[in-house]
């Protein structure tokens, strides 16, 4: 099986059961033609250029999609879905989303990324900013404990399993705790499972190697 074909089937497998390859689930709109701002030619260009793929699963919504790397600036990679919903990652962690209705506007990865990637434990402060419904930023700050749990296998291909180090991040705030998980390989976050808004639930991203 060629690398390309394997990738396609992996994407199909990982996004199986989801309602489409977009994240907003606006299937009807796709049929009716792209709404403004979606810029389908960009996605065609990225696909043609075989831009790197990020597998995104909204675990609590039962949605999944494969996003293409659309750009990179200042250490932040921008990934776009077919419907131009975007995720932004820094050091393998989600730092922002756009188009999910309950977006993470910004987030400080701070010292967390280096602790996680190096598999050390520690305590960090994390600050998330979300829209509060009145077009102001709601700032949520958390104390987070970062604890390496141990080796864990994750699926990175149809038959491929990769042995990684799982690192848990448990964050507390009087309004509710969140827990994130990361799977680290060779000092790099390969897969992450983060929560930032209760409406969206857990978001899992896997950087295809």
């Amino acid at each position: 099986m060629s690398g390309r074909l394997r990738l396609v089937s992996l994407v199909a497998l990982l996004t199986l059961g989801a309602c489409g390859s977009d994240l907003s689930g606006k299937a009807l709109q796709r049929i009716a033609g792209a709404p403004p701002g979606v810029d389908p030619p960009e996605m065609q260009r990225l696909t043609a250029a075989d831009a790197p793929i990020l597998i995104v699963r909204l675990l609590d919504r039962g949605q999944a999609s494969s996003l293409r790397k659309a750009g990179q600036r200042d250490g932040v990679i921008s990934w776009r879905a077919l419907d131009n919903v975007r995720l932004y990652t820094r050091d393998g962690m989600i730092v922002a989303t756009r188009g999910l209705s309950f977006d993470l506007m910004t987030s400080d990865t701070g010292d967390a990324a280096s602790l996680i990637a190096s598999g050390r434990d520690g305590q960090v402060v994390r600050v998330l900013r979300l829209m509060d419904g009145e077009d102001r930023l709601e700032i949520r700050s958390y104390f987070c404990d970062i604890i390496p749990v141990g080796p864990e296998q994750i699926r990175t291909g149809e038959r491929e399993r990769t042995m990684t180090l799982r690192v848990d991040e448990t964050c507390s705030n009087p309004r509710g705790d969140i827990s994130n998980r990361y799977w680290v390989l060779g000092g790099r976050i390969l897969q992450a499972e983060q929560t930032f808004s209760p409406e969206i639930g857990r978001v899992q991203i896997l950087l295809l190697p």
Binding site: D74, S101, E134, E138, N173
Partner: protein
């Protein structure tokens, strides 16, 4: 408490990490305790018929409806105006209530104030004072003072003293009569003509009585309420055959997963009743961050030399920028390059939040213009008027796109000024013609005979703009079905029938022209906006209207003057009647902060009456507006007729709030207990304050969380 906490976080602002963390350590009070109090059958926080002293969460609505076996039906809208002040509008139907055997459709208003807030952990109860039905027919008229307390998480209890209706069972001599004998007697209700007058001479007068209430949240879903009611239901017993067997009322309430609450009650041991209520928080739209696609990324720009673009770039170079902006719902009106500075004239066609419109414009400019262009002067226009200039640099955009506090930083670094009088980068406009066909709904809610009248049809709107700032706009609409024409209330007004002939207008069934106008908008001087309108201004009047608005940049106030000459249109809309009038207002606008806005209009109204309209509006950050107004003119309450003076409630919301899709469109409705001829104002489209306010607020920092959205 959650709200307070959020506010604290917001106030803590930027870069104050330690403060956030400290804030995060504040004790979290029980969020549910008292946050969603039970609602009484009058729709206000309370038990079955009796009120409690609790409040709804600040800024939320509660809508409730109930029906009793004896054919009393009520719909209530409650709005928590401030954390302590509650406003209530209620529409009631009482079958065969009137002495001539007719049923009564009644509109009533309450105001409640929580004078003392509850100390959840300690002993201090909440205490509230309420004026029920203070200005309607007075049929539900009652005043009360009530104290309420939580006992643990599941139980609340209240004790209160009531007057009027709530002082009618087991009443005793008014304790207030120690101050004055005036308090001993409550003047009766003198007739329909007095409706709408505030019953100052009745408040807290006559016998008083004590009421008690207790409820128990048995499970997450079930609540049981029990009360000792001080309402003897005197009128219902006398007029509707109601039986008052016991002062005890009980209710069982079930809360659905969606938050709706269904209640079943037994009233006074004789009558069963059902109720349903929902709450709505205008601060929680369907999609807080919107469903629109991601914005285009900030880019470093094209490799072309800025100089090669020239001062006024040619059509070929403009085309890419124009297409990219258009895809973002932004019209490009002009582009001018001077060294490393680009000045672009743009018009917002899509975004409810001006900051988002500016942000997306800046992103597109960063990608489409040569890298050597480092300063973007974004000149925004509304109806052809230059409004604001927002200056951003390429460096700021690049630094802040992913910065944690990028929204605030972008606002601080943006240089925003009034765009009037600056050199105009716009090209000669192309004559633009635009048509839109859409369905329309014309409701008439809560009229005195029918709670809901509605026309449904189609409307074709066309607009032609041959010159900058000049618009010829018209609409033609055709009703498909509806019952607005079935209103049989012919006007008995002694004033010129400037509004009360609405049913006659509604009887016209052919195509109608709600408006057909030529408008001209201008910026005669800095901080000054102007408008001239001519033609069929609104469904009932045509004529000419001129307005000047002085809205100084960065200030909380504005002043406007509007002068009109209006001629009344025929009922079929094709000609004019004999009635004409010079009318106009001096208007003052003040932003009190915290979302509260006031407006005062002083002048001459359509019926020739002179007077003042006072409007208070609470505007939520997302654009949702709830307001109330009243107009007092030199027309006597008697000449005004039913309702005594003009007043009402307005609700207006961006459609984005409902759908999450980006659009500038809004929907809304004004509820008036009754529309009469006194205090009626010409309904001109495109009044200036409403046109430019969003950008003015954005220039003061509103909604900048959307700059990077």
């Amino acid at each position: 408490m959650a709200r307070l906490e959020r506010t604290l976080f917001r106030m803590a602002g930027v870069g104050a990490l330690a403060t956030f963390c400290h804030g995060a350590g504040l004790p979290a009070l029980a969020e549910d305790a008292g946050a969603q109090p039970g609602l009484s059958f009058y729709g206000v926080p309370g038990y079955v018929d009796m009120p409690s002293a609790f409040v709804l969460p600040d800024g939320t609505f509660a809508f409730s409806g109930n029906a009793t076996v004896g054919d009393v039906r009520r719909g209530t809208m409650v709005f928590q105006i401030t954390p302590r002040l509650t406003g209530v509008f209620r529409y009631s139907y009482l079958k065969d209530f009137l002495s001539n055997g007719d049923s009564l459709y009644d509109r009533s208003f309450d105001l409640r104030y929580q004078a003392i807030s509850e100390d959840i952990g300690g002993w201090r109860p909440a205490v509230a004072i309420g004026l029920q039905d203070f200005g309607g027919t007075g049929i539900f008229g009652a005043e009360y003072v009530v104290a309420s307390k939580h006992f643990g998480r599941a139980v609340t209890a209240s004790a209160g003293i009531g007057w009027g209706r709530f002082g009618s069972y087991n009443g005793f001599t008014n304790p207030l009569s120690i101050f004055s004998d005036k308090f001993k007697d409550r003047p009766g209700f003198s007739g329909i003509e007095d409706t709408g007058q505030i019953g100052f001479d009745r408040f807290f007068r006559g016998d008083a009585a004590v009421f008690l209430g207790v409820d128990w949240q048995a499970t997450d879903r079930l609540r049981l309420s029990l009360e000792y009611s001080s309402d003897a239901m005197t009128e219902e017993v006398a007029r509707m055959g109601f039986e008052h067997r016991t002062p005890i009322n009980v209710e069982l309430e079930y809360t659905f997963r969606n938050g709706g609450r269904l209640g079943f009650a037994v009233l006074n041991g004789s009558t069963a009743a059902l109720s349903y209520s929902i709450t709505l928080d205008p601060g929680r739209p369907a999609a807080p961050s919107g469903r629109e696609p991601a914005p285009p990324p900030v880019m470093t720009g094209s490799a072309e030399a800025a100089a090669s673009w020239g001062l006024v770039p040619d059509q070929g170079r403009r085309a890419g920028l124009e297409a990219a902006l258009k895809d973002q719902g932004i019209a490009l009106d002009g582009l001018h390059l001077d060294g490393n500075t680009a000045t672009v004239a743009v018009t917002n066609l899509r975004w409810s939040a001006s900051a988002q419109f500016w942000g997306r414009t800046a992103r597109v400019l960063s990608a489409e213009l040569p890298a050597g262009v480092t300063t973007f002067r974004i000149r925004s226009h509304i109806r052809g008027m230059p409004v604001k200039e927002v200056v951003l640099t390429r460096q700021d955009l690049e630094e802040l796109e992913y910065a944690p506090d990028g929204a605030w930083q972008a606002y601080v670094r943006a240089d925003i000024q009034d765009a009037a009088g600056l050199p105009d980068p716009r090209l000669a406009p192309e004559s633009a013609l635009d048509f839109k066909l859409r369905p329309y709904l014309d409701p008439a809610l809560f009229d005195p005979d029918n709670p809901l009248r509605l026309d449904v049809g189609a409307e074709l709107r066309g607009e032609w703009s041959p010159l900058r700032g000049f618009y010829v706009t018209g609409a033609i609409k055709q009703k498909v079905f509806g019952n607005l024409d079935q209103s049989t209330r012919l006007s008995d007004s002694v004033l010129p029938h400037v509004r009360s002939d609405a049913p006659l207008y509604a009887k016209h069934s052919g195509p109608s022209i709600p408006y057909l106008t030529a408008e001209y908008f201008m910026r005669p001087a800095p901080d000054v906006y102007g408008r001239l309108s001519f033609g069929l201004l609104e469904p009932m009047f045509g004529g000419v209207s001129g307005e000047v608005l002085w809205a100084p940049q960065g200030k909380r106030y504005a002043l406007g003057l509007e002068l009109n000459y209006a001629v009344q249109r025929d009922f079929d809309g094709y000609g004019f009647q004999d009635y004409n009038i010079a009318t106009g207002h001096l208007s003052g606008y003040l932003d009190f902060g915290g979302g509260f806005k006031g407006q005062v209009d002083v002048g001459r109204f359509l019926a020739g009456d002179w007077g003042t309209t006072v409007t208070m509006t609470r505007r939520f950050g997302n654009g949702f507006e709830v307001g109330a107004f009243f107009t007092i003119t030199n027309v006597s309450f008697e000449d005004f007729g039913e309702g005594s003076f003009d007043k009402g409630i307005t609700i207006s919301l961006p459609l984005t709030w409902v759908t999450g899709q980006p659009t500038k469109d809004r929907g809304g409705y004004t509820i008036r207990p009754i529309q009469r001829d006194g205090g009626a104002r010409l309904s001109v489209r495109n009044r200036l304050y409403g046109l430019v306010r969003d950008e003015a607020d954005a220039a003061n920092g509103d909604r900048w969380a959307r700059f990077w959205r």
